[in-house]
Amino acid sequence: MTVENSKTGVTAGVVGHPVAKLDSGEKVMGRSEYIADLYRPNMVHGAVLGSAHAHARIVSYDTSEAEKAPGVVAVLTGDDVGEGRMGAFIKDEHAIAKGKVLYLGEPVAAVVAETEEQARSAVRLIKVEYEELDAVLSPEAGLAKDAPILHENLDDYFKVFDTGSAGNLASRTVFEEGDVEAAWESCDVIVEGEYTTEPQAHVAIEPCGALAEVDAGGRVTLWSANQSVFRVQANVCESLSLPMTRLRCLTPRVGAGFGNKMEAHVQPITVALTLKCGRPVKLILTREEDFEIVRARHPFKIRMKTGAKKDGTLIARKCEVLLDCGAFADDSPGVLGYSLLMARGPYRIANVRSEGKLVYTNKMRFGAYRGFGNPQVTFAGEQQIDDIAEQLNIDPIKLRRKNMTHEGDPWFLGQEVRSNGLKQCLDEVEARSNWKKRNQAAQRPGVKRGTGIAVAAHISGLLGTGAIVRMLEDGSISLNTGATDIGQGSDTVLAQICAETLKVPLENVFVSSPDTDGSPYNWGTTASRVTYTTGRAVAAASADVEKQVKEHAAQMLDCDIGDLELRDGGRVGIVGSNTDLPFFAVSAHAHWAVGGPLVGTSTLVFERDTLDPKRAVAQGLPFPRIGVMSFSAVVTEVEVDEVTGQARVVEAWSAADVGRAINPQLVEVQLEGGFLQGMGFALYEEMVWDGARLANPSLMDYKIPTTRDAPGVVHPIIVEAPEPDGPFGAKGAGEICINAVPASIANAVEDATGFRHRSLPMTSERVLRGMMSADKTSGEEAS
């Protein structure tokens, strides 16, 4: 039985239509293959041993017992890998611990056995002798004089930008525009506060895993749960000192990624294992391991100060952040720099300084997670906007509208913003939520009700991408971009862009799975970039094919190229006449007679500078070119139980400017799913460390929202301010939908309870304590 996709029959105008995701048919049949579903002949199974210490030198290994255990094929330790190191910004990480262990649970050895159970039993028989070292468990401790140093050779590591690394300081970044210190004098109101956010686990429902096999020539093929086959290839080859030509990376379906599958997880170990034993090796993490050894959202410590005139004009903002890097830099220097770039918020503020430090600690690495540091600084910044609104007695939306950036304004540091739908986002959420009449519903006894607003911006980024569009002999289209669809539907969106450009039915476009052997380079499914960046390449490569089709048709029809047009259904014809040719005739002409097969290509790298040196100064800028801006506004209505302190989101309105919704339904899912993930982060998700040990690495102890926790309704509101060079005007949607959510909820909780929460998560206990202290305060003030 197959399920028909009734909406793929749409031909003309496929962009802007909510066509069903191309992979949804196989997924509702249970037929999609994820990494754990792949099997190869003669395959064996890998398992890893986690370090018993947070910080220790490895003195020796005794693997003899493990090697004798039933089913064991090979054992791997740090002695088996060379000196190679990987890392997106600082190359500080071996494939497996070597010389030292830097966090509790860090993979220190691995076993391959005939069955997974045998591998997991045998790996525990490996004895590692350690010389324990003092551990660094907080960024403050890491910066202390005489702190134990994690990376003794940090100076020698390769770094992709001026990180300023020293001791345990992994990187530092400073940005400034205007003169903040001088500006405070001209402010009538200044708000200042310290804010903290806790680590959030990604909890993609599919745990990370990999499968590698080596052929007779020594070349390795690697499948893995990933957000970029090209980052997988780079990380494995750097850490194992392999030439990139020796490794082919492929992807099965991916059971979601929110940043956790962008950089390496177990791929380097899996490749090292297959190279050691010569057989295909599959290594799938348990949920607990996935919590303990992959990566998580950074805990932030933020000190922020914002000043305004009496009329509400924002004058100055200063933001200082301190980030826990964990044991390896991973994407952290980027998260630090990006959070500082976004700390101004989408406002015209003439004087802004943001600076921060990223400090190595003996914890698992923190890294990319949807929003990339932006939800944390927005949590602080958007609460300060509400504080100012309250002090000046200005409506929070009115204050935001007064200060918001407009099309053509520079972003912080100087990049021109060419599309800006923020005003429309604010207008929409204000009208749809009935903002002016908020909190007028009948109060229920025992429940406090409140409404909050927050706004944010986000990039649709950056770096290199490409597309190859081939017309096959029968006139159908093969699209190859190397972009991994992690479930969000990028294959469908890119196929829509291609189909629209070439005026062919969507089902005539086949999207190839990413393959480092055959796909053009694609940095990855990250930074909300695939629709915008790869979409640009797809549109250009499709237009390249259009040009070639017209060149052939002009010959075949004996007319000028300028007289030709593409027609719906995959035809090319002479304007103003019925004469036309189907694509298969054109393609046959190209394949068999003249010119050769039709292949359109485009590659690009995002080209606009982040920094205008005439406007701003920057030290330690991780991304000289970052991306175009999208915007959002989120109104949230909460109810707080006066007895338990539990805050619940009742209803929410989430508007996002995505330039152009190529597939509105897929944008809506981003807004809805992003809201719930942000809500979990705001209200209860928290990874808790007991000393060096992660105390809650399971779904029993780390709760993510269920259907019972979801708000009554989240209204997704699509705003379209087209980006001039975006494909059909499109920008990204994957992260803009989460950034303002925690701040919006915090402002709603403050509205309900009178207490401002400067720490996440806003658990029942914290909200209850907050309410009690707010009551006390107001009581004192009244007396």
Binding site: D23, A256, L666, G673, S698
Partner: protein, 158 residues
């Protein structure tokens, strides 16, 4: 190494005899022995619901169920609903409403949703929220999943 036993299972109306460890879970036997891969291992702890299958008509966590306890009871995975109209309605609604994102939770979600549809009459959103609360999804925010089940329920009961 645990003793291996011969187990007689009925999965999606097919009889299968497998050698399995006495302590093997149904999830392990389905995936590793029978290569029925639609039930997923998301947590192996009975929380995420990705491994949900019907055992004797009731949704169960296959990761928490010992395979030996399933002898004599029909086991049904999402692969086993070819001729089922309610599952066809659910599948169609999931696709058309955008309820499928990464798809890792979808097999288990569909099993739980199908079980809800066995009740007479159209389901309320509260019924659906309660019935799906044991199936985690990290992508969708659940809204389009609940919409889909509500629409399928309405159609099935009309």
């Amino acid at each position: 190494m645990a003793d291996r036993e011969k187990l007689n299972l009925t999965v999606n109306s097919d009889n299968a005899t497998v050698d399995a460890d006495a302590g093997a879970t149904l999830l392990t036997v389905l995936r590793d022995e029978l290569r029925i891969l639609s039930p997923k291992r998301g947590c192996n702890q009975g929380v995420c619901g990705s491994c949900t299958v019907l055992i004797d008509g009731t949704p169960q966590r296959s990761c928490l169920t010992l395979a030996v306890t399933c002898e004599g009871k029909p086991v049904q995975t999402v692969d086993g609903f070819d001729a089922d109209t309610k599952m066809a309605l659910l599948r169609d609604q999931f696709q058309q409403n955008g309820a499928v994102q990464c798809g890792f939770c979808t097999s288990g979600m569909l099993i739980s949703a199908w079980h809800l549809l066995q009740e007479d009459g159209a389901l309320s959103r509260e019924d659906i929220n309660a019935g799906l609360s044991g199936n985690l999804c990290r992508c969708t925010g659940y809204q389009k999943i609940v919409d889909s089940v509500a629409a399928a329920s309405k159609e099935a009961s009309s």
